[in-house]
């Protein structure tokens, strides 16, 4: 098993290299000159030139990229042009916010989606099923920033239950988490329903009933455990959606997360910060996918056997 994990971590290296090259190259192409942003409106051309020299912006792209990667290897991801703070440190400061938002969103999504998915699977093709499906379809169809605005309109404006933005304790994470979570819940619910439908038809469910298990035991002890694998895959795949969803939720709710950090940095042409943040994003996602794969083994002995054999 450990060997498998190490192998997966090693796979990160090519991902980091290619990602950093792509992003650095793309950011290099973007119009707009960082020196201008740093020096502000009153800068004289000579000063701009001096800043560019100082920061090595005039060097050819490959030299700058090489220097950047050299720094990366020594664990130094460079400083942000604008704030002067170390990229890695800023990222680690903002990451907990995104994880908190992402975690709450996944939690809300799972709390809504699992029972609803199972419920609609059990009562297949009845009106209950259709209502559940409409709920799911609305989730996937609704642009989540629009949902965010409507939630603000209703819950913080009219009812005043939750703060409308900013990060201040738990109550402030609720609306953004629902905004990101609802889209997630819709996808997870559809997967839960379809995987439960497959599982319900399996013979071992009839065996369980023949043993005398109650309907509840059959569904939850036997059915759910088998259905969890595709559901976990669905949640795993949604991780990138959490990051995307949160970029928008963070903008609407002024939530200081990675999405907004990257978005602002791109606007400010803060190349080092953008490249560093996106690399760390992809590392996080690869790690999360690895964790999801490991969770499989916990749930499905057949996959654990493969790891043992392969690892």
């Amino acid at each position: 098993m450990i060997k498998y994990i190490v192998k997966r971590l090693l796979q990160l290296i090519p991902v980091i290299i290619v990602t950093s090259f792509l992003i650095y190259w793309a950011m290099n192409l973007t119009s707009g000159d960082p020196a201008l942003l740093i020096a502000g409106d009153k800068a004289t051309p000579e000063m701009l030139e001096q800043i560019r020299e100082e920061m090595g912006l005039n060097d050819p792209f490959l030299v700058r990229y090489g220097r950047y990667m050299l720094g990366m290897i020594q664990g130094d991801m460079g400083e942000s042009y604008i704030t002067g703070k170390d990229v890695f440190q800023t990222f680690m400061e903002t990451l907990p916010n995104t994880l908190m938002l992402g975690g709450a969103a996944v939690l809300i999504a799972v709390i809504i989606a699992l029972p609803l998915g199972i419920y609609t699977a059990i009562h297949q093709s009845t009106w209950k099923d259709n209502v559940g499906m409409v709920f799911a379809l609305f989730g996937t169809a609704m642009p989540n920033f629009w949902l965010g605005l409507m939630l603000i309109l209703l819950f913080s404006l009219k009812l005043g239950w939750f703060p409308s933005g900013g990060k201040a304790g738990f109550s402030s994470v609720v609306l953004p988490a629902v905004t990101v979570g609802y889209g997630l819940a819709a996808l997870i619910m559809r997967t839960t329903r379809s995987s439960m439908l497959d599982v319900i038809r399996q013979d071992y469910m009839t065996t369980a009933r023949a043993k005398g298990c109650s309907e509840r035991q059959v569904i939850f002890r036997h059915g759910l455990k088998n259905a969890l694998i595709p559901i976990i895959t669905a949640i795993g795949m949604q991780i990138s959606m959490i990051m995307t969803g949160s970029v928008l939720a963070e903008t609407v709710f002024s939530w200081p997360g990675i999405g907004r950090l990257v978005n602002d940095s791109i606007a400010r042409r803060d190349n080092e910060m953008v490249t560093g943040a996106i690399i760390m994003c992809s590392i996080c996602m690869c790690l999360i996918n690895l964790v999801v794969d490991l969770v499989y083994a916990f749930f499905d002995p057949r996959i654990k056997a493969q790891y043992a054999k392969k690892g």
Binding site: T30, S31, G32, D33, P34, L36, L37, I38, G40, D41, K42, A43, T44, P45, M47, I51, G75, I82, T83, G84, F88, E93, T94, L95, N97, L99, M100, G102, G103, A104, A105, I108, S156, L159, W161, F162, P163, S164, G165, G166, K167, A168, F170, S171, V173, A177, V252, F253, S254, P256, R260, L261, A267, R268, R269, C284, L287, I288, L290, V291
Partner: protein, 533 residues
């Protein structure tokens, strides 16, 4: 090596935090939780009956608190409370003694200053602030991004503990005023030499830096043993000790949620509330909406080196075609003032009586014919930043110019792209803004002088340059005023840009707010503000 270990260790911690991110259990707390937010409790302080914390909701993220390495207004607003400059600039446009009690011109190129002798830094061991610190700060500034603020500075010689002389390249009326800019506030030489971490946090102001989490909040705490409180000498108002225990600056980038946060009591001050939501705020009894004339000028401009905009008459025709009233209405719903001159309102020598080019479509058509384009037939692009007022302004100007046969395609882009496009002179028409509330030279020289970095019009005219220099160096005040007025008339006629409107300063705050000190340009002074109870 240490850093690499940190990187790996963080990756592991990150993985575990993902699994165990139980921190995110977003169960809704009991409904109706609208008490004043913010971690510190709202215990009333006995003496002057005010709340402990003052929370200011800003519309932009604070990005860099190293005084001389940044140029953003939001950073300077925060730093104004922790650092003090040699010269104090009042919100009526006057210059009063700051840390420097007096100064006088020894000759054209030398100015002698004397310092207060009772000032010390908030570094815990009350290191006194001396001329050495001033010299160190100014020399450091010349190497930093803030060098333009000290245009004309040659050197600074220390004459005694509390005296020093600055040598300038030539006589300049406004040199002393530039010492009032927040980037040039005096920093502690000892802090830098002792290798203190982030030495730029050490200042002499009534508050000192406490903590800053990017995107979340920036917190300043009151300095108990502040020099202004312990000195026996007479202390000017601006240097009085602070009142609230802590001041928090919280960014709320989304305008509507900033306003809701104010109404819900999460923040005490809402900077730049969205104009269309003001009626809701005015109805609210415990919120005051304050409005005063501003100083930020929004303008529409030409790249005068680009065909056909090098044609002065054509530019004047376009100036007459722009309906500035509806621009003002669409952009800020009338909360601003129109003007003809190119100088920011409230600056010395502001002169608006020249004839100019008011909205007059007939005259515009005549000028078009005169310029050689009787039926227009020009197609051009208008480049502007994709943030809020510009889009509405661009849409209106597009419609206005269509009426005189000029088809304008809109090309919005990010601020960064706009700036570099304009500096490289690739743009044809563009929208931008300029905020200046102290030095007129920063307007004439920076915007219109040949070769200046911010001269996006790429305008170059010997007469204009000559007048700009005269305004800067003419000692006789009457003559200087004459030159200023002639320069403004000349520039308006040359019409490299069409000044659209000066946006009013609009700010909403908790009605119990006391001790605030507002500036037209927006860089307010919060050191004495508090919420009374």
């Amino acid at each position: 090596m240490k850093k690499k270990l940190a990187l790996l260790m963080c990756l592991a911690m990150l993985a575990t935090s993902v699994i165990g991110c139980s921190g995110g259990n977003g169960e809704t707390t009991s409904g109706g939780e609208t008490s004043a937010a913010g971690e510190t409790t709202a215990a009333a302080d006995g003496a002057t009956g005010h709340k402990d914390t003052l929370i200011i909701g800003t519309d932009v993220d604070i990005n860099n608190l190293d005084l001389q390495a940044q140029q953003d207004q939001i950073n300077n607003i925060v730093l104004k409370n922790t650092h003090q400059a040699l010269v104090w600039f009042t919100n009526e446009g006057e210059f009063e003694p700051g840390l420097a009690t007096s100064w006088e011109n020894v000759d054209d190129t030398h100015i002698k200053f004397t310092l207060r002798d009772d000032v010390y830094f908030n570094d815990g061991n009350k290191t006194p602030m001396t001329a050495e610190d001033v010299k160190f700060t100014l020399d450091m500034a010349m190497e930093s991004v803030s060098a333009p603020n000290l245009a004309g500075f040659v050197s600074c010689t220390v004459d005694g503990d509390y005296e020093f002389t600055i040598e300038t390249e030539s006589y300049n009326n406004e040199f002393v005023q530039s010492l009032a800019s927040q980037n040039l506030a005096i920093q502690s030489k000892k802090a830098y030499e002792d290798g203190v971490e982030d030495p730029y946090y050490i200042g002499t102001g009534p508050y000192k830096f406490d903590s800053w989490v990017q995107g979340e909040y920036c917190r300043l705490t009151k300095v108990e043993d502040y020099w202004g409180a312990t000195t026996d000498q007479e202390v000017p108002d601006w240097a009085a000790p602070g009142v609230a225990e802590t001041i928090d600056f919280k960014p709320y980038v989304e305008a509507s949620s900033r306003v809701i946060a104010l109404q819900a009591g999460e923040i005490d001050v809402c900077v730049n509330p969205p104009i269309n939501e003001l009626p809701f705020l005015e109805e609210d009894p415990n919120i005051t909406v304050y409005e005063q004339a501003g100083s930020r000028l929004f303008y529409f401009a030409f790249n005068v080196t680009k065909e056909p905009w090098d044609n002065q008459t054509l530019r004047q025709a376009v100036a007459c075609a722009i309906d500035r009233d509806s621009v003002l209405q669409a952009a800020v719903e009338g909360k601003g003032t129109l003007q003809t001159t190119i100088l920011n309102r409230g600056l010395w020598g502001f002169y608006d009586d020249m004839e100019g080019f008011d909205y007059d479509v007939e005259r515009a058509k005549e000028l078009m014919a005169e310029a050689g384009y009787p039926d227009g037939g020009i197609t051009t692009t208008l480049t502007y930043a994709n943030s809020s007022p510009y889009e509405s302004i661009a849409t209106i100007i597009q419609a206005n110019l269509a009426e005189i046969g000029i088809t304008v395609t809109l090309s919005p882009c990010e601020d960064a792209t706009l700036k570099s496009t304009c500096v490289n002179g690739d743009q044809e028409l563009f929208l931008w803004r300029w905020n200046e509330d102290s030095k007129v030279d920063f307007v004439y020289r920076d915007l219109f002088y040949t070769g200046s970095g911010s001269n996006y019009h790429h305008y170059s005219d010997a007469r204009a340059d000559e007048l700009t220099d005269l305004v800067a160096t003419e000692k006789d005040p009457d003559k200087r005023l004459e030159y200023a007025q002639e320069l403004q008339t000349y520039l308006v006629d040359a019409c490299p840009q069409v000044p659209l409107y000066i946006a009013n300063l609009v700010i909403a705050y908790n009605s119990n707010l006391q001790g605030q000190y507002f500036y037209g340009g927006g860089n307010h002074y919060w050191a004495h503000a508090y919420i009374a109870e």
